[in-house]
Amino acid sequence: MSALLEALAKEGIEGELLGEQPLALPTNEVQVQAVLRRAHTDGIRVLPMGLGSKLEWCRPEYSSNADLLLSTRRLDTIVDYVPGDGTLTAQAGCTMAQLEERVRAGGHRLTPAVARPDVSTLGGVLAAGLSGPDRQKRGPVRHHVLGMRVALSDGTLARSGGRLVKNVTGFDLHRLYTGSRGTLCVLLEASLRLFPRADDHTHLVREEAELGGLLTRCANLRALESEPLAWTMENHGGPWRLHVALEGRGRAHEEDVRDVERVLDPQEVLRGSDADEAFDGLRDLEAAGGWGEARVLTRPSRLSAVLRKLDEEEGLQITAQMGFGELRLHLPGLGEVSSERQVERLGELRQILTPLGARLEPRTVQAQAHAELASALATQPALDWMHRLQDELDPKAQFRSPSFPGRRA
């Protein structure tokens, strides 16, 4: 047991070692506050986390540089679920699976539909700014965060927003915190807008060896009036597969299915619980990266050109969200290729993508590549604003979190 954990234990705060690093496991907001106050006073570098499923997104040295890991996993109470109002308020350590199960009983659906909801906490998902394939219909997660309670690096507890579906009172700091990856605060509690759970679900899949035919079908799908829940192209199993997930009710849903069938000519049409399972499979593709994942952002109109070009490359597993222009690239990980080769490979991909109007963002990639990619992500004035916000909310650079936007040099 480390001296730090022993000191925290005297304040009634439990902890354990994760590898060689001390991990604090507070059970309530007051304990989180106590940990942060001690860290602030003693100059302890803290890495906030949930269950740790996204720690790979850090540059590796960041997690090892932290003096203390601070997990909110034991803040796991569902504070308020009001079915009649379509809102949910929960503590950061609740798993997404726990929340999904709770709202399903009330006829609601939670967004984002993330990969591995059983090991993803609400706080972790929001800190990572994760959206799932359902972003196609629902929009990004940040649109559905109604309010938050957070702890700043000095232990200050603060709230923004509320539990209401419409509210413009005060600054939307919860928008700032969502996706800030633990660089500004520790998320304690959040309120989310929920969506009605549809009665009927259908999942349609077409597989082809060649990409070109599927891209033509995509262009025709775009012209339909149906609004899919998800619309994903992937090549994880070898050949290209185009998935369309639909949800709805009765006659209207059947009309949507018929339209998509006509354009897609699918080999698989899954209904009900089979469709739900297939959709869960799509979600889990997001977790397939391991240590070698990058993200490509582009406009939907440029996706075809980007995909054609990437299809010429060897050894890439690709998941493309066709409606909103996001691709995940799963490269050979560091266990399979050398660190230098991964850096070189990412550089090659950037050379390919930039002229097409697409940009590459690092996820679970080698540290040097991460730093190089991240440095090109924002214009200098925007980076300056981000650094000013970090300096203001975490003046002692206490949070040791993923590198972007990084700390001011």
Binding site: V82, G84, G86, T87, G107, G129, S131, R135, G139, P140, H143, L152, T156, L157, A158, R159, S160, G162, L164, V165, K166, N167, V168, T169, G170, F171, D172, L173, R175, L176, G179, L184, P196, R197, S226, R249, G250, R251, A252, L297, T298, R299, P300, S301, F324, E361, A374, L377, P381, A382, L383, W385, M386, R388, L389, D391, E392, L393, F404, P405
Partner: protein, 490 residues
């Protein structure tokens, strides 16, 4: 005179020098100094609060705005950004010793991308004009405040404006993809992303709804939405307001998804029907529910079929369906013209804007009515019931000081009740001057302090829209400073 200088002559000379500098940037048509011209800028839609600006600047683009902001920064002059001045919370009310920076001459649509469904516009583009420019391509801009015939996209961004169809499509923040911002120091910040969720902090999300305190947005990239294939507009007529509210709560609980759910009460109906916005609302009704359902034909029919039994269970007298686009337009013109129509009741109107959980609609509407009745005030209700966003409107005459006091007292009581019910102070109008004193009832000192810290780090001199949103906790005001000296707060 806005400069706090030693001698009046020197002060006047300095003022003239500044005006000359600014005129050189924006041209003679871009600067207003004539007191008669400045009168029109004394307030926004919150006419209870007025202050004549020292001058008004109307730059034509980002470059001119940046140059003006650099001059204002050099002399430490506070400024208030302004769109069309239709806001109802005093967000665009001028501040003492300050300048208004208006976007009225920034009216160009810079890019329309139909394939990727976005438009890039200057901040002064009028909300409804944006939809007009893309409706031939089957697209529209979803946020539709009642003032959409006049309000600007820049103003909508500053206030995170709503509107009836936000029930389905969400407030402005969900439709903004990118921004070009001129900061307090005149630096240009390009957050012009039409791709999804770029890494880094969501500065766009932070900026929307910041009520002009972080910078002046000059260019805005907005998401456009496909026009739905079928739109059904229904007018449901009720014999009382309470069951009408309960019907809305039950529609939400049944997880039905119309695109708009609006309530108008009897006094509103009568005012509308007596005005140029007359929409054919039944004047004998105690309340009507204006519902819109959009989507594919089968989905629309299904939703309407499911809604009707719920409405009937709450004493529905009759339901009318708009037979064509003309009837639909008329029904909406009545709703959106309601605030204007209330000029028939009294010369002035206090438009409250509060939010409650949607399960508590009936209670708060009843409470607001009682509060006004007890104070002998005329209240009419027209509101976004589907979002729990109420607009209890109090008609009054501002020449009657005693009545004004009663109006303000009633407004405060309604806001306090909303907070008690788990609600909030504003659903779409913002805090501005109107609600700043109530902020400390809703938020803790730490909550407010974090917001103020964020503001201060983006505008260290606090010159952008000073004296708004945050409750006055100490006697502080921004005074301008001379070039080369440090700013001062006293």
């Amino acid at each position: 005179m806005w400069l706090a200088l030693d001698g009046e002559l020197e002060s006047r000379a300095m003022q003239e020098q500044i005006v000359t500098q600014l005129r050189a940037i924006v041209g003679p048509d871009g600067i207003l100094t004539d007191p008669a011209a400045l009168l029109a800028y004394e307030s926004d839609g919150l006419t209870l609060k007025r202050h004549r600006p020292e001058l008004v600047l109307l730059p034509r683009d980002t470059g001119e705005t940046a140059q003006c902001m650099r001059v204002l920064h050099e002399y430490g002059i506070p400024l208030v950004p302004r769109g069309a001045g239709t806001g109802l919370s005093g967000g665009a009310t001028p501040v003492p010793n300050g300048v208004l920076v208006g976007t009225a001459r920034m009216r160009d649509v810079l890019e329309l991308n139909v394939e990727d469904r976005f438009a890039r516009v200057q901040a002064g583009v009028v909300n409804v004009d944006l939809t007009r420019c893309c409706d031939d391509d089957g697209l529209f801009y979803a946020p539709d405040p009642s003032s959409q015939m006049a309000c600007t996209i820049g103003g909508n961004v500053a206030e995170n404006s709503g509107g009836p169809h936000c029930f389905k499509y969400g407030s402005t923040t969900r439709h903004i993809l990118g921004l070009v911002i001129v900061t307090a120091t005149g630096e240009v910040l390009r957050l012009d992303e039409s791709e999804v969720d770029p890494d880094g902090f969501d500065l766009v999300g932070l900026f929307v709804g910041s009520e002009g305190m972080f910078g002046v947005a000059t260019e805005i990239t907005v998401r456009l939405t496909p026009i739905p294939p079928v739109t059904e507009t229904l007018l449901a007529i009720f014999k009382a307001l309470d069951p009408c509210c309960d019907a809305v709560s039950d529609l939400i609980a049944a997880r039905l998804e119309p695109s708009a759910i609006e309530i108008l009460d009897k006094l509103t109906i009568q005012a509308v029907e007596a005005s140029v916005f007359a929409a054919g609302y039944p004047q004998e009704a105690e309340a009507v529910l204006l519902l819109e359902v959009e989507g594919r034909e089968a989905a629309v029919e299904d939703t309407v079929e499911r809604m009707l039994p719920i409405l009937e269970a709450h004493g529905l007298l009759e339901v009318r369906r708009a037979r064509d686009a003309g009837e639909r337009r008329k029904l909406w013109a009545g709703r959106k013209g309601a605030f204007g129509a209330m000029g028939r009741i009294a010369p002035d109107l206090y438009v409250a804007d509060v939010v409650v959980p949607r399960t508590r609609l009936r209670e708060i509407v009843r409470y607001a009515t009682d509060v006004c009745t007890e104070r002998n005030l005329k209240i009419s209700n027209v509101f976004h019931a589907g979002d729990g966003n109420l607009h209890p409107n109090i008609s009054y005459d501002r020449r009657d000081e005693e009545e004004v006091a009663r109006v303000l007292e009633a407004g405060d009581l309604i806001m306090e009740a909303c907070i008690e019910y788990g609600g909030s102070l504003s659903g779409e109008h913002g805090v501005g001057l109107e609600k700043q004193a109530m902020m400390s009832r809703l938020f803790t000192p730490d909550d407010l302090s974090v917001m103020e810290r964020v503001r201060r780090c983006l505008d260290p001199d606090m010159r952008l829209n000073p004296g708004k949103m945050f409750p006055v906790r100490s006697c502080k005001e921004v005074r301008p400073r001379l070039a080369g000296s440090s700013g001062e707060s006293v």
